[in-house]
Symmetry: C2
């Protein structure tokens, strides 16, 4: 099974690595990180770059397409070559997926028109302006299109896909291998749980929420 | 604050990226991915390589040291230059941490002698053979040494650290930014929850548990 993860400058690494770490443990899987040009692509922190081993133009199909989010999605949304590539690959996929603001790219490509979808909580209005119907769920599936909420939700999304692709037992085995038995020390992972004071604090971080 | 994440061939990407994605959102933070030599370092899947921007020899101190796990820890445990570097940096840290089998490297460096610690569930015996006292908890803190269980547990560990470094409110804001409101579709993230049948299945995957 061919899993393709397109990356672009200022992508969020965990958006990509959550699904990667789950899906790579499925049988007969080949993962490809691809970019406009092969070579280093910097994440949304200058400390980190991934090596894209293929140019988008070299890729004609995917069984699973995973589009990560990050501040760089604002440029990707306006990159007609990227959007055309997304539409072309989508025509070949078994699943077309996104994590966080990756759904903005799907929406800009016209793939979410009238569909329920999710995104990072801070970018809901932008997603809706592009024709999707925002749904406050962590993982939203509409046929073969699966969108996940912010950043870490890609792990939950990928485990959901893993079960559909390889069966529940295999998905559970993958969950066990990555020891995904989450025990966050706080219960502040969504706007409603965090409350207005913590939401306001996210705007004061050194890196404001571009998500 | 200087966060240093040493990487080595066959490291597990999520072990590194979980803490990275949390800690990079703390104030005045600089992250460095370092390796034996600067340049590309492949993860435990050939699809993925990170760019290490510094050689270990260029790094003399760290406020937070994060050692990821992966099959490559078996070689790292026997790499005297790596172990000597870990000991040297540990002498300068505010926190010395590991995710998954990264704790085997700490143990091999002699830093866990007689201390409580954790690791990936499949490598408990190896950890104990190196002098640590295995503790079945997701995050184990012994003074400034903090070890986390398998792979995804690095997110929980880093949020715990974030609160100690920058206060609970800031840690909660980071949790909200990465929308860490986990909703795994199954409850199979630990051996006791998964049960013997799923544990056995992990041995049949294309990539057996090297963790």
């Amino acid at each position: 099974m061919d899993i393709v993860i397109p990356i672009f400058p200022n992508f969020t690494a965990l958006d990509a690595i959550g699904p990667y770490e789950v899906l790579r443990l499925l049988p007969d899987t080949k993962i490809t990180f691809a970019a406009a040009a092969a070579g280093l692509v910097h994440a949304d922190n200058p400390a980190l770059a991934f090596d894209a081993t293929a140019a988008l133009s070299e890729i004609d199909s995917a069984d699973v397409l995973v589009i990560p989010g990050g501040g760089g999605t604002r440029a990707a949304m306006k990159d007609e070559a990227m959007l055309e590539w997304v539409r072309r690959i989508h025509a070949t996929t078994r699943y077309t997926t996104s994590v966080c603001t990756g759904s903005l790219v799907l929406a800009a490509a016209g793939l979410l028109d009238g569909l329920e979808a999710t995104t990072h909580w801070a970018q809901v209005a932008l997603l809706e302006s592009l024709g999707a119907k925002y749904t406050e769920q962590r993982v939203v599936q509409q046929g073969k299109i699966v969108t996940a909420a912010g950043v870490s939700s890609g792990i939950d999304m990928a485990l959901t896909l893993a079960a559909q692709i390889a069966g529940e037992d295999r998905a559970k085995a993958v969950q066990l291998i990555i020891e995904y038995d989450p025990q966050p020390p706080f219960d502040a992972g969504s706007p409603s749980k965090a409350g207005p004071r913590i939401i306001a604090l996210t705007g004061e971080l050194d890196e404001p929420v571009a998500a």
